[in-house]
């Protein structure tokens, strides 16, 4: 089966019900996407399919309807996406394990809503758990990224 991830087309052999998360991590060795709960309750596995934020642990790889983007495809270490740059700027990450999912969710939010309020941010980010409690910094970083994206 063909799967396009971060602009590269892969031919992968997987069973129909295998979640996209495990195809990415175990078959394609793309490790930026994380396993946190397996039941779409923590958001650590968030990726984009055609720009939409989805929980890859509850998305069967066979059902993927478009191009997949993971944190590795959002930006690069040398050319970070505005969301990633804002995350670094605010030093959001503590342990960092949930943050690729947080950033994917935030990037999708800003694509849909370029100037979110605190309430918009809370609504959009409420499905993404951070056990280190970096939420106030996430809110600040989303706003910084929004400003940066509007300047471009």
């Amino acid at each position: 089966m063909k799967l396009t991830v971060n602009g590269t087309e892969h031919e992968v052999d997987f069973e129909d019900d295998m979640p996209l998360l495990w195809v990415l991590r175990d078959e394609l060795n793309i490790k930026g996407v994380k396993y946190g709960c397996g039941v779409a309750q923590c958001g650590a596995c968030t990726v984009h399919i055609d720009g939409e934020a989805v929980r890859s642990c509850q998305t069967a790889a066979a059902d993927v309807w478009g191009a997949v983007t993971t944190i590795e495809g959002l930006g690069t270490p040398d050319a970070m996406h505005a969301v990633q740059a804002a995350w670094v700027d605010h030093q959001v990450a503590q342990c960092g394990y949930c943050q690729s999912g947080q950033m994917m969710q935030a990037a999708a939010l800003l694509a849909a809503n370029p100037a979110p309020t605190d309430a918009d941010i809370d609504d959009a980010m409420n499905g993404n758990l951070c056990r280190c409690g970096t939420y106030p910094r996430i809110r600040a970083a989303v706003k910084t990224a929004a400003t940066k994206l509007q300047e471009v």
């Binding site: 979640p19 495990w22 980010m125 993404n128 106030p136």
Partner: protein, 726 residues
Amino acid sequence: MTIDTSRRGFLKSAAAVGAVLVVGIRPNGALAASGTPSMLTPFVQIGSDGSVTAIVKHFEMGQGPSTGLTTLIAEEMGLTMDQIGYDFAPSNPQVYNNTLFGPMQGTGGSTAMANSFMQYRQAGAAAREMLLQAAAQAWGADASALTLQDGVISGAGNSAPLGDFVEAAATLDAPADPPLKDPSEFRLIGNPDVRRLDSAAKGDGTAMFAMDIQRPNQMIAMIARPEQQRATAVSVDVSGAEGIKGFIDAQILPNAAGVAVFAETTWGAMQARDAISVEWDTSAAETRSSDEIEAEIRAALEAEPTYNVNGADLGAVRAAVDGAETIVEETFYFPLLAHAPMEPLNCTIEQTEDGGILLHDGCQFPTIPHGAIAEIFGIPFEKVQIKTVLAGGSFGRRATPQADYQVEAALAFSLTDRSRPVHLVWSREDDLRSGYYRPAFGHKVRVGLDANGGIVGWEHRIAGQSIMKGTPFEAFTIQDGVDHSSVEGTADSPYQIPTAAFGLTDTEKATSTLWWRAVGHTHTAYVMEVMMDMTAKAAGIDPVDFRLAYLTGNGADQTRKAGVLKLAAEKANWGNPPAGRSQGIAVHKSFGSYVAEVVEISGTAEDGIKIEKVTCAVDCGIAVNPDIIKAQMEGGIGYGIGHNMRDQITLTGGVVDQYNFPDYEPLRISDIGAIEVHILPSAEAPTGVGEPGTPPAAPALANAIAAASDMHVATLPMDDNGVSFV
């Protein structure tokens, strides 16, 4: 400079660049240097290309030691933060001993900075002095005329990069007592602009956690576990898993505690684990329910305590309370709690070419799994290596006295022919349902007040399951039968409470328990601070003024605790909340640090509480990295508030009732508003920051709820006991 977190990679690059100066401390504590990295495991390694690498002996779970300890080396060597990298130390309990709880290598008790501050500065200072000495010899100059700044040695009319002198410096003896920088000269320590060294990798997705380890040809192992603790596997039928893609095998672990299921992929292992059937022997299994645990604790609180914690005259204290003008009395109960770090537990184990064992792990207490693995495979301690990688949170869970998950990995690996590395993976359900919880505790407190609202007696009983008894930590945490971790933060509180008695009763071991971010302080701070609030209210005195009345005199403990209390109150505009809002305050000392927090809420317990703002003041001695300290306070506050709002682990017939985040729901972004942290300037030695932010958070929230709704929550979690949140 790139940060090479691979030790093997470092050694290779060190060899490639030729001479290397390494400075560390020998097991006897003396500074030592060597030109051969393999001779000595050091705190700082310097290549002749000028590359400097701090060797960080504490693991990184987000609390910041990789940045903090590296900062200490850079400060003493006059480097900028982009002129130094870091590498996690190998497992070696002598050299990388935690000086506050050794002899062992480990991270915990918020000790990383406290036990490293002088050690790492001395290592950096010794390296600086040796490089200056080597340059002085080369230039025929006096070393005292030379300086090392930004990687360049200069003076006496000369200037050259430090790398030019590494080869010569490596032949010198390390100075016994190198001069340390005066704090007035610090450029990095205390500088709010010093950045975390791991932010970029955690921003672009390249940070490598234990879960991301993918060794060539590795297998995944998951463990099929019994529903009840201490049940054992009798037989396994794998036929149900035979059609599952990638399924390899399933075998009972040598200790029968579970069945190891091997597969090519994590998904295959998960499916196969569900598909096999295991027969369990439950004859010795845990059968108690959390209701029985609670009943036992509540009964213990009504009886005479087993241990007199502070040697008080119980009769006199009781008489003082009984004879008081007013008695304020409350009984508290705290349920079992799981740590639930974001990254589920996992590690990877493999055999090395020389027949040794290599463990890849976000390893919190390397010495314990190190010894356990050596024993399991019957090999010398020296033949075991642990490569520490980033941990996706821990909050205490990755350190157990039994090295639980590393032993599981080793036992699973022992069932194989060892030709393939084995990556043990826990699911979230494994994490929440497999024990090692914050123990349930109860407190009963009776406080007597005189006619002026002054405390005349404080009788305090504590009951719960000891964490430390029966573990290797017993020797230095149990005194006269009292497990300090059951009572810390009560009798040793800086409050000068007259006529106080603290008693402890251990309850039966009903489930496995463990230190959980701030350990005993998670319940003792709540009780002390809610009682102070209730008592202040009964006395008709402002809660801040009431507390300050018991923090008088010039004692450092009292002055520092009063200092953060006053600062938090001032910054939060205590007593004057915006319309429609209520405030609560709490202050607590833990792990050597003093933290006060004001929680500001809107709403009522009945209609729904919203946490609008938290203001925090912290005194942790010298603030090595102010932004990391602020982040730890922010995170600690969220951790304390979230669990006490709505989380608990319960048991029915010994079986855990919770499965995953839907029924153990942690704090979410919409639960908490702004957090503002203020650091009290201090010249004292640095103390912990990972845990001390947690204890005051929940009592400050409880006190805010009391201000809004005239009810103090005494049984946790709050949303199960009369408080709703919006």
